[in-house]
């Protein structure tokens, strides 16, 4: 009789009430249940919740909460603005057209304009009148990041001044400058007969193709460093020497220490640049590689500059010889001879510099260290090495995650704050 409770609570309609009343008159148990329910209801009314307190406290809390809410909204708006500004600042380099490349585009002109100043500082030959075909383009092809730091900063300073002094360049956008540079012919060294034709051709060849995979016109000095663990040191040294000779290179230094407990051999090898990858591969195949790294230094700018200076000094020498022949005055002849002597000294120095650069570009250097471990505990050493290497990898991963975490603060922090606030409000 589920309606009994509803009947007692007055929640039934008239028909329902009449039905329950009929049952109550006929059924004594139901009547007893009704009496019990009524008694329970009366007893439950006796629950005492106590005297309310805390209303004043609530009213003061409500007033401060409304202020705090508005403050919180303003704080959120403030933080969001800061994050937005940071995000925009972070994106500016990419909006400008590719971060580093934007600044790199302003450097080619800088490099070109710094040439006269370089000349002026050291017994100043006149600026080379583009006998090196388009040294501006050559400089444009240089990788600024591979320049020597001191020179780089100097170039940046000079470039700024140069850009301001040149009206046409000043109004050109970096993109236009780049397009103009790419439209110009690739660099060619013309020493005006100062160098033997064969050398000049070789130099031009090397500028174009000295490094496999490198962009045309880039002149690279390569170096490699590797450490290889081998079973037999003597055999490894012999093999390396044979390999170098086979690749038309030579051994510069060789030093070996061989003891019962272990030993090492260190070799410095010079290999034609074209054979550099092959040599590195062969050396790595001689044992278990413990460490390997290789690097390239761009010396295109230095080479082009040196060739230009050589040509300039040669021109000056020719001019002075002509003047000397025409001169009738004894004092003037002495003066010209003195100048000629200086010019020739500079010319020789520049030629040797150019030859040195040629050498650096044509031959790469490989430093290789062969090691032989102690005969016992090989597996333990290997395991230790593997574990150390694993730990290094884990550290690298953690570091990478940490860096990403920091760099992406402008992205995740506003989201986290918004999520936290939504969660707080919902609660």
């Amino acid at each position: 009789m589920e309606n009994l409770k509803s009947f007692l609570d007055g929640e039934l309609d008239l028909a329902g009430n009449a039905e329950v009343e009929t049952h109550l008159r006929q059924d004594a148990d139901l009547a007893k249940m009704s009496a019990d329910f009524s008694a329970l209801s009366v007893a439950l009314k006796g629950v005492d919740p106590g005297q309310p307190y805390g209303m004043e406290q609530l009213q003061s809390r409500l007033s401060t909460t409304s202020v705090a809410e508005s403050k919180k909204i303003w704080r959120f708006a403030g933080w969001s603005s800061v994050m937005g500004v940071l995000l925009v600042v972070a994106m500016i380099p990419s909006l400008k057209g590719g971060g580093g490349s934007g600044s790199a585009e302003s450097r080619p002109a800088a490099e070109f304009k710094s040439q006269p100043q370089l000349g002026a500082s050291s017994a100043s030959p006149p600026a080379a009148p583009l006998s090196i075909a388009d040294s501006a383009t050559a400089a444009a092809d240089m990788m600024p990041d591979q320049m020597e730091p001191a020179k780089k900063s100097e170039t940046e300073k000079d470039g700024l001044a140069g850009e301001r002094s040149n009206d046409t360049d000043f109004y050109l956008s970096p993109r236009t400058k780049r397009a103009q540079a790419s439209a110009l012919p690739r660099p060619r060294v013309a020493t005006g007969g100062l160098l033997p034709a064969e050398d000049e051709a070789k130099l031009n060849m090397s500028i174009g193709k000295n490094s496999p995979g490198a962009p045309y016109g880039v002149y690279l000095e390569k170096s490699g460093n590797l450490s290889v663990e081998v079973q037999d040191l003597m055999r490894a040294v012999d093999e390396a020497t044979g390999m170098v000779t086979g690749l038309k290179g030579f051994v510069v230094t060789s030093d070996m220490q061989n003891t019962e407990k272990g030993g090492s051999a260190r070799m410095t090898l010079r290999i034609p640049s074209d054979n550099f990858p092959a040599a590195m591969n062969k050396l790595q195949g001689m044992g278990e590689v413990r460490q390997v790294n290789s690097a390239s230094q761009d010396i295109t700018g230095e080479t082009v500059t040196s060739a230009a200076k050589t040509r300039s000094w040669a021109d000056q020498e020719k001019q002075l010889i002509g003047e000397l022949a025409k001169s009738r005055n004894r004092d003037e002849k002495w003066r010209i001879r003195g100048e000629l002597s200086n010019v020739r000294a500079n010319l020789e120095a520049e030629k040797s510099q150019l030859n040195n650069l040629k050498e650096r570009g044509n031959f790469s250097t490989i430093e290789v260290t062969f090691t032989r471990g102690a005969s016992g505990g090989g597996w333990a050493k290997g395991a230790f090495g593997d574990a150390t290497s694993g730990l290094g990898s884990v550290g690298q991963i953690v570091g990478t995650i940490g860096i990403y975490f920091l760099v992406f603060i402008p992205v995740w922090l506003p989201l986290a704050i918004a999520g936290w606030m939504v969660n707080r409000r919902r609660r």
Binding site: E2, L4, K5, S6, D9, E11, M33, D36, F37, A39, L40, S41, V42, A43, L44, K45, G46, V47, D48, P49, G50, P52, Y53, G54, M55, Q57, L58, Q59, R61, L62, T65, S66, E69, R425
Partner: protein, 168 residues
Amino acid sequence: MMLLVNEAVAPKAKLEIGQLVTSHYDQVFRFCSVRVGFHHAGDAAQETFITAQRALPKFRGDSKPLTWLMGIALNECRRINRTRRDGEPMVEFGAPTPEGQIIDREALRVALAKLSPEHREVVLLHEVDGFTYDEIAEIAGIPAGTVKSRLYHAFLNLRQTLAPSEVA
């Protein structure tokens, strides 16, 4: 006619939290006191009104403000009880009255504590807080028929627990 149209589209009187506190704080406090105990009732009631203040802009006025408040209070009490280590408190009875002396109060407290949370909730809402079936349905978010059924079975359970010695 124009007047009727204006009345129909006129926005409902805007509720202010200050008015709600003044008119309903005592009821909300008692409601919370029964569920979380006297000592925590102040906190529960205050949190209820703080939450209500935040939610007030979303209140559409479909239900009575009191039942809306009690819904919030019920959730707040459940949250507080969830975080308590000593479990839900037992209800406290006031000074005995002649009508209420038929049933042993201590036995009734125990019997109430033995009820399932759903049954105990409807009993408290109806018998102690005095809400109708429809209001209980609104506060607890269940159909009115379920309220009726739960209340009947809760009373049956109470009677069984107390019988035969306690219920006269």
